[in-house]
Amino acid sequence: MENKAPIIEINNLSYRYASEDVLKDLNLTVHKGDFLAILGPNGSGKSTLIKLLLQLLKNQKGEIFIYGTPIEKFYAWEKIGFVPQKANAFNTGFPATVYEVVRSGLTKKTGLFHFYPRNVKEKVIDVLRAVEMEDLINRNIGELSGGQQQRVFIARALISDPEIILLDEPTVGIDSKRVASFINLLERLNKEKNITLIMVTHDLSAVINQVTHIAWLNRSLQFHGSVKEFKNINKVNAQSFYQTDLESVSNVQVNGGKH
């Protein structure tokens, strides 16, 4: 695993809102092909980290490199897909079809003042097929269930052929029966298309069998390593660790995030 090229490197990243550190001295390296789950309690800086990686927030202190380029000078954003938290992503009354929403994922790649490519419809159908949604291409986005909407957003991210997809709590608001098939879909994209996935989540038990790496965040990085390493330092049941055994993990500091 560790001999693969690093595609995201975070060095000494800190971020404060008002006078409170939300992220402190974070070091984290993500390699090509990783399926990384970022876990941590509420207010632990998980969403802030995603926003910094998308440059929706600008770095205050520390550096982020994407493919070796400092993030401030990185412009190939079409290589980075994003799946937002469903609850606040859009107005469900918005009059648009699944086709129109997925197609909009090509906006950056197509370029300013250019029109969508001729084969855009085939591309939309392709990515909808990958998320098993091609039958709903002409449906209104607001009519779909939460899980279906989330698949549409994955298709929107996939259409620009991204190498990395960031997901911010994508399973919030999806009923628990469908979460498993959603995570399996992500695993398939990770394995078959070799897309690097970075997913913020609350729910360790739902993802532990699919992800390859885990980062435990509580304003600073408490743990980062492969799932195997994670299970080794944590003989007890993973879910109970998540809820109660915070202390033991913060003392372990395996890897410290640097490889």
Binding site: L54, Q55, L56, Y75, W77, E78, I80, F82, P84, A89, F90, N91, G93, F94, P95, A96, T97, Y99, E100, V101, S104, L106, T107, K108, T110, L112, F113, F115, Y116, N138, N140, R156
Partner: protein, 280 residues
């Protein structure tokens, strides 16, 4: 009936202007409505009024201004007002809607001062408030045509960006799209279209042309593209029907245009209810 319209130049001017704004006002209106900014049109129309009043007041002092169509004063004030709204939205980040009543009341306040300073144009004032079938000159028509063309071209070329930012602004920004610049261009277009629509529909009713056809369209449309197409059709029917009936019944066209839009809106609401009922 159409012969009368073709006979008089002033009617031709109003008719062609109406047809242009019947396209561009609902076209911009779709983006305004889905971004939940419907009231912005009211604020900009009132600030346009103060620009029109200022030009007319200036004309009573200087022959230079007498040669300038009040349309341009309205456009200038409207664009400045739009820029202030954008600025105020960033100043009051958590109370973005506050920018609208601020600009609207400044617009009315200035307008009232200019109007009372020059009591010479009270007759025209009625036309500016509620629209007029005889107020558009040939040169106004040319400017309106050029602006209409500009609006359509810019919307076509920025369609991808405008759609993405309207649907999911955060995703657009995460893709590195300069949302602020796109938004600024858009708001300037809105300001221009409002200023040119005032002659036909009037200050008090101009926002209806950007919202009522869109509201009706959203009841019927299955996609964003259809929403735009239906909005333009409804807008066009309202303006043309409104102008013809205003002329023959000797009414202010602002009122007839809005009433036709309202009838269309009611029909679409009833029709979509019937569809839903049948689908059960």
């Amino acid at each position: 009936m159409f012969q009368t319209f073709l006979q008089y130049e002033f009617l031709q001017n109003s008719f062609l202007t109406g047809m242009i704004i019947g396209i561009i006002a609902p076209l911009l209106g779709v983006f305004i409505v889905v971004r939940k900014m419907s009231l912005i049109a009211d604020a900009l129309s009132h600030i346009s009024l103060s620009g029109i009043a200022a030009t007319m007041l200036a004309a009573t002092y200087s022959p230079f201004f007498a040669g300038i169509s009040p349309l341009y004063g309205g456009m200038l004030f409207s664009v400045i007002g739009a820029l202030f709204i954008e600025k105020l939205r960033s100043v009051y980040k958590h109370f973005e809607e506050l920018s609208i009543p601020i600009i609207m009341s400044i617009g009315i306040g200035l307008g009232v001062i200019f109007i009372s300073l020059a009591d010479g144009f009270n007759n025209d004032l009625f036309g500016y408030l509620f629209g007029s079938v005889s107020a558009v000159s040939r040169t106004d028509l040319y400017s309106i045509f050029i602006i209409g063309l500009l609006v359509v071209l810019i919307i076509i070329f920025l369609y991808k960006e405008l759609f993405l930012l309207a649907f999911d602004e955060e995703y657009g920004k995460a893709q590195g799209i300069r949302g602020n610049i796109v938004h600024l261009i858009f708001i300037i277009l809105v300001a221009l279209v409002i200023a040119i629509s005032i002659r036909i529909v009037g200050v008090l009713l101009v926002s209806s042309l950007m919202t009522l056809p869109v509201a009706a369209s959203m009841r019927m449309a299955k996609s964003f593209k259809q929403t735009i197409i239906f909005s333009i059709i409804f807008g066009e029917v309202s303006v043309v029907g409104g102008l013809i009936s205003a002329f023959y019944l000797d009414l202010a066209p602002g009122g007839t245009i809005v009433c036709i839009s309202a009838v269309i809106l009611i029909i679409t609401i009833l029709y979509s209810k019937k569809l839903k009922y049948n689908a059960r």
